[in-house]
Symmetry: D2
Subunit: 319 residues, 4 copies
């Protein structure tokens, strides 16, 4: 290999991926956007130099993001996606036969455009009659939406300081989300790295923030090879009697069979159960977490090249 | 960072670790041995340039290796460790109050010596009166052992071609193992990378090979951050009515409380359950796997710098 | 920088160049060909992963290759270029007002095609009426040429084993060259790395080989930044009374003023003099060199990824 | 190679050296100091992550630094070295039979200590009765010196902002130097990278600054392989009628034979002449250079990780 794509996973930890081809490389209004073919991962989207999703295992991330949320709901008809510009999240949502409307709101027109041109596996989603695309700020669009949703999915970048979406990881935004969910509505958000050494940076602060707003919240994780770590999500229900967050493996398999078109590759009843089995260490961190991410209070999780920090108003403490 | 330790995880995928200090670096009779301080992982043992274990999360690997085996057994008194030169596996075994004898057989005197000098967290194990160390070939030592064991643990390098231990991943060796286990005996072996893209290289062939010998076998996985992937193990029981391979989370927590000294960091009932929840993809691979690793037939899993292959007698097929 | 181009300069010595853009990347019949924009060097041609020439300082290499040869000749009218597919060598030759015909013979159509499309600084050369391009083997074309030449220039890849041009560094080829030169004819060939530690690999063997054939030979060197070392050439004259190899700085400046169109950037009388001032170490190597590169005797300089060797018939000695 | 030492040569240009052994690695009061064995260069001293000198070719740098200065002087008896902690500069000075006293003033005790322990090739210098070592600031020591010197040599780090020695590249310091030289005294200073693309950063500003103070100044360069570029020096004479800066090659060879003990490896009359033959481009830069490095005016050359700049009072312009 002569050409390499390099990512700094954390200070002092670099990954280098053999670079076979650059399909697109540019600077959008918000971020740098690369779509490349990597030797170990196939076609890959990188935003600001960080892998967002790659051909070899994007299904793990997207099945783990979308289906636990939609399966928890008794009959999800309307779905809001914040971010998700690559199209894979919409693709998974639209596999659910119950879904009548899927509104995706991404702020970065370039990401959408270049992914649409270069990621053929999502082609069907873009032209599905139930699918609606808006290029705008997800927060403002959701606040002003005349209708509510059964499921709201946040498929965002990490909360990079100065990036386009750290405000979408805040107690204020989660209050908006809750208001915009129908009874029994489900909220799911990607929540950053969640391995044994880094899950306290974004994943557990998002968890404790959601606990301020929702009666039921669960944090879960799954190893994603092309992210070179476990990844994290947080899921919340407005009413667990309608939409319970933890289903039995048998119930998951039954709902998949009844509702989802085509074969899953990663998720079924057993792997769903695995998502929710956290290590002792992870559960200790969640139990001890007190951070509340807030725009008003100026406390939010930000990711620097030198690591992540939870900034308190007027004082930043680097983790 | 000016100094880096570089590992090729697979062709076209490199990791580079900031190198703070070299504590030992040399060539033993069998392999190169490095003990270093790495920026992201702390003190780390590397053999032939591959990370074996690092301070930051070795407990994940070693708790996942040792405790499921010992907890499955109703009362493990005698334990055989093949490999494990670093000392951490013995350390975890010796935390079990039931254990009366722990025999560790490692072929590489240098690994043992340099780890003993440089990894203070295992100091207590080396001087425990129940612990016995033999520098020898684990296969021959086990074959000639006058006594049998309740639990046999293989904590080996990957089956590198020309390396010291690929014969310890074979149907012939597993027959020896079975013969040397007491009734209800448990066998556990590390089984290489086990993420969504690489679990077919060693993990599933070891599984199907063990199925030729043992009435009950289970394959399981766990993300290990410093390995930058999920890792894999295979566990087998000579008699599931005495030593069942899958315990309920409650039973695990009960046995931990009753038998193990000190606090676990990673393992408890819930994370134990997570170990055994495999993805749909992993289970499909296990179900379809037909390889039988055999010294006689010349079929064994070998790892090259260019990937891994399962070699059939007279013909090598690179995976 | 996220994207890098990596070159192995010698075993244990890597350079990495920030990769801004890939303009062309492909495999020709003979070699891999990359034309890229590099952060430190600008637009750059790489063949088989090795930098051939880059925008930032290609003029140093090409002025040092072409002008000493043409300036030594009293009135160069016909010039043969072997290799030179990039076009820069022809560009420099065609700046000489005396030149009536410049025949370039390159074996690799793709190198020529892609350089012509992507290196605008050589545009004028390709359409100069005095310029003639043949895609063919330089050796066969020269042997069969009905006419002789005043100057023959070899602007080739290094003599890579299995590469397209190691036979063009041989006593047999140099005999052909001599036969095809007019009286007072000048031969110049690039001769690989020539820094204080690597000049014995190709540069001095080419020197001693040329000494077998030509009455006057001089070896010279010049630092080329984008090659990260000094580079080497060997120049030979069929008759020093017509074409002396060493001119005074004043004579060089006079001939440049009289013959060459446009401004030079690197070469003039003083820097010309510097080319020929070799270090004591370099001169000792030349004096002691006995290698004769020969196709018949099977002794030729070959460059491996593991270094270079001068292979004797039936025995290879790695330097 | 698993272990690498990485140096950033300029933004977007990295070199990586196979790291065989770390002999010393630490933080002195002033800088980080590494003494390592590198695969391509042998034993090597690095300060603040930048190669200072390596076994394979340190003689090129040190012969080019020391001998042109001492050979220009008719009979150098007393020599002052600023910096030079490694000991090689003193070693070369002490080879001159005329030298009666060599005073070396280095600010960093650790560099001196660790080099003395780890670089056996300089052992003789440290115990030569003519040699005197002072750990102190070279500027203050020179200012307060009760005696003058025949030759003053500055063998310093590059003028890193915040580093220990950027004030030693200034018009004020050069006035002190001139005052402390005996009639016909010679001053020589290392002057940083001097290849075709980077010689304007330190080398030419130092040249034009020296021109403010000394009647005769010459800038020269030499490729140094382990620096991966040409290196630069500036030499000045207080009186060219006593100490001419440019000797004929014959005169150089004569003085070497008469005065220097042992064999030179790099320098003799011819290579000396080559040092002074600058390219057209280098000479154009020198001719156009107007910078005057001054402590009072706050104009000095500083090297950042992001390149170098000549800072004017109150305004920094990055080159």
């Amino acid at each position: 290999m002569s050409k390499w794509y390099e990512e700094e996973l954390e200070p002092g930890l670099r990954a280098q991926y053999g670079l076979k081809k650059i399909l697109h490389s540019g600077q959008s209004k918000f971020q740098t956007v690369d779509i490349v073919d990597l030797e170990p991962f196939g076609r890959t989207l990188l935003v600001d130099g960080l892998i967002q999703s790659s051909q070899i295992d994007e299904y793990v991330y997207h099945e783990a993001l979308v289906h636990p949320a939609l399966l928890s709901h008794p009959c999800p008809k309307s779905v809001f996606i914040g971010g998700g510009g690559e199209g894979s999240t919409a693709r998974e949502v639209l596999r659910h036969a119950t879904v009548e409307r899927c509104l995706m709101v991404d702020i970065d027109e370039d990401v959408v455009k270049f992914c649409r041109e270069n990621l053929p596996e999502n082609a069907a989603a873009w032209t599905d009659p139930r699918f609606e695309l808006v290029i705008a700020d997800a927060k403002a669009t959701l606040e002003n939406s005349p209708t509510n949703f059964d499921v709201i999915i946040m498929d965002l970048d990490d909360p990079l300081e100065g990036g386009p979406c750290y405000q979408l990881y805040s107690v204020e935004f989660y209050q908006t989300v809750k208001r915009k969910l129908n009874p029994g509505g489900i909220f799911i958000t990607q929540s950053g790295q969640a391995g044994i050494t880094r899950h306290h940076l974004v994943w557990s602060p998002v968890y404790s923030t959601l606990k301020q707003v929702f009666p039921a919240v669960k944090a879960y994780t799954q190893a994603v090879y092309s992210f070179l770590d476990e990844w994290g999500w947080n899921i919340a229900s407005t009413d667990e009697s309608i939409s319970p967050l933890l289903l039995s493996p048998e119930e998951v398999d039954k709902r998949i069979a009844a509702r989802i078109k085509g074969e899953m590759k990663f998720l079924d009843g057993e792997s769903y159960t695995g998502l929710y089995c956290l290590s002792k260490k992870h559960r200790q961190t969640l139990a001890a977490e007190t951070a509340v991410l807030s725009i008003e209070k100026g406390t939010f999780a930000v990711m620097h090249s030198q690591g992540l920090c939870v900034a308190e108003a007027g004082s930043a403490e680097v983790s």
